[in-house]
């Protein structure tokens, strides 16, 4: 039972991270019907920008004196960097292909993914880069289960980001414009909504959330690696498909489910197969219900 609760908490932590990444896939798909295969690289880049700044702050000793400032700054810088990176990628690699067959942009996305991943390897090296290890030691003790401070931070921050995103997409005018662009770009233009700006914004938000997830993973597992975007990328993609691609609530739910299944599968079935569960789910969804759990019948939370 104690181990069950512990696993549940671990599952929520991991699931929240997948949810953050999955949103980028689902939002971009919702707005321009592209599976952005380069999305995992924004996650990796975020992890690297995070480790660079957190190490820098730690070196200066600020991490001791101003931990909240250092964390906030590192998250903000990583998210901004990845947002601009994604805007650039879209302008260079996807926008010129918007009128072509969908396969063209898909292949371009694969190319961008390889390019960015290799760029990280060339500039940051092939080995793991360690996060400052003294961050967030310890946790809350409840008898036999422990919730690490770091886990609390990750879950709270993830929750805050998910709520903020929902408010943005479903309660603000710019969110309405984003949903309108997803639904009818010509009509959007006829009411003065510039789809280029909205598409840029969509990429920026998706990449920003992925960058935040990248730092969280770096903090959680203690290090980052240039190819770290690959597996979480396809798992989060599976989560987006499971939730119903294009559906925001679906991506959040899908992320949580994939995270849970992975943790419980590893705990109760086999740790060796932990990476397999997401793909079993992906294949199952594609086979039995390709529209996903929040698919087209519950259309309220599609972008």
């Amino acid at each position: 039972m104690d181990s069950f609760i512990q696993q549940l908490i671990n599952g929520i932590t991991l699931g929240g991270i997948y949810a953050l990444i999955a949103l980028g896939y689902t939002m971009v798909y919702g707005v321009i019907q592209l599976i952005n295969f380069a999305h995992g690289e924004f996650f990796a880049a975020g992890g690297y920008v995070g480790v660079i700044f957190l190490s820098f702050f730690t070196g200066l000793g600020y991490m001791e004196t101003h931990p909240i400032f250092c964390l906030t700054a590192s998250f903000a810088l990583a998210m901004m960097y990845c947002a601009y990176l994604a805007i650039g990628v879209e302008k260079i690699a996807y926008k010129p292909l918007r009128k072509e067959a969908r396969l063209a942009a898909l292949l371009s996305a694969l190319g961008v993914s390889i390019f960015l991943s290799n760029g990280l390897m060339l500039t940051q090296g092939v080995y793991d880069k360690a996060y400052p290890s003294e961050l967030f030691q310890g946790g809350f003790n409840f008898g036999i289960i422990t919730i690490g401070y770091l886990q609390v931070l990750i879950v709270c921050l993830t929750g805050a980001l998910l709520v903020a995103l929902n408010l943005l997409v479903f309660k603000t005018k710019i969110g309405m414009a984003m949903r309108a662009t997803a639904q009818d770009k010509t009509m959007s233009a006829l009411v003065a909504i510039g789809s280029n700006n909205i598409i840029s914004l969509t990429f920026a938000i998706g990449a920003g959330l992925a960058a935040a997830a990248g730092i969280m993973v770096g903090l959680y597992y203690g290090s980052v690696r240039y190819d770290m975007g690959f597996l979480p990328g396809i798992k989060a993609f599976s989560a987006a498909v499971l939730g119903g691609i294009g559906n925001i609530t679906g991506a959040m739910l899908g992320g949580l489910i994939i995270g849970m299944v992975e943790i419980f599968g590893a705990g109760y079935i086999s740790g060796e197969y932990k990476d397999v569960f997401a793909f079993i789910i992906l294949i199952g969804v594609l086979y039995f219900k390709p529209t996903g759990i929040m698919g087209e019948n519950i259309d309220d939370t599609r972008v």
Binding site: R179, D184, T186, A189, V191, G194, S195, D300
Partner: protein, 240 residues
Amino acid sequence: MSAQPILELKNVHSGYGSIKALRDVSLKIYPGEVVAIIGANGAGKSTTLMTICGIVPLEKGDVFYNGVSVKNIAPEKLPPLGLCQVPEGRRIFPRLTVEENLILGAFYRNDKPEIQRDIEHVYSLFPVLGERNRQKGGTLSGGEQQMLAIGRALMTKPKVLLLDEPSLGLAPIIIHQIFDIIADINKNQGTTILLVEQNANLALQAATRGYVLETGQITLEDKASSLLHNPEIRKAYLGE
């Protein structure tokens, strides 16, 4: 009639790649007018409106709004200038609510209290929209969608309103209601209206002047009342 047209097409050619949908179309619309374009299926009526709005690319010729060429202006920059279209098929954002659709009509505006007032004004023109303000646009009936499309366009504060077949698929009583509102918008708000219709009778009764479009070319231009009594027109478009 004032000297300068508020909207003018000069020798416009446009189309879809190899399909030349408009050939040498010239139109002049003066402030305060209601002008109708009538023509059969595929004549190029919708293409004319989409070319004015920059959605279908202009191949030759030019479009002037208030005397200024708009051919190099992006489509989304036109509503803030006062040029707005209610497209064929209404194109309501189906997964946005009625109210959200209206708010997006005012996307470029920041005058919040005034936007709220304008929403109330739309609800007073079309009370059914007020009753259904939280309903998803896609679940409205055809007539309600047409009302919402016109309401959404009014939210852009148009000086020139382009209407593409507002009567399409609607019951006579609803058509009547909608054309009353169109006349009201023209009279009371001074909005210039360019009306595209297959229903020539209806359009020519609502309009002051009319153009006849046949396979991408303007073949006739006259006062609406004259067109209505023109035997050729009665034969070709009014089923006589």
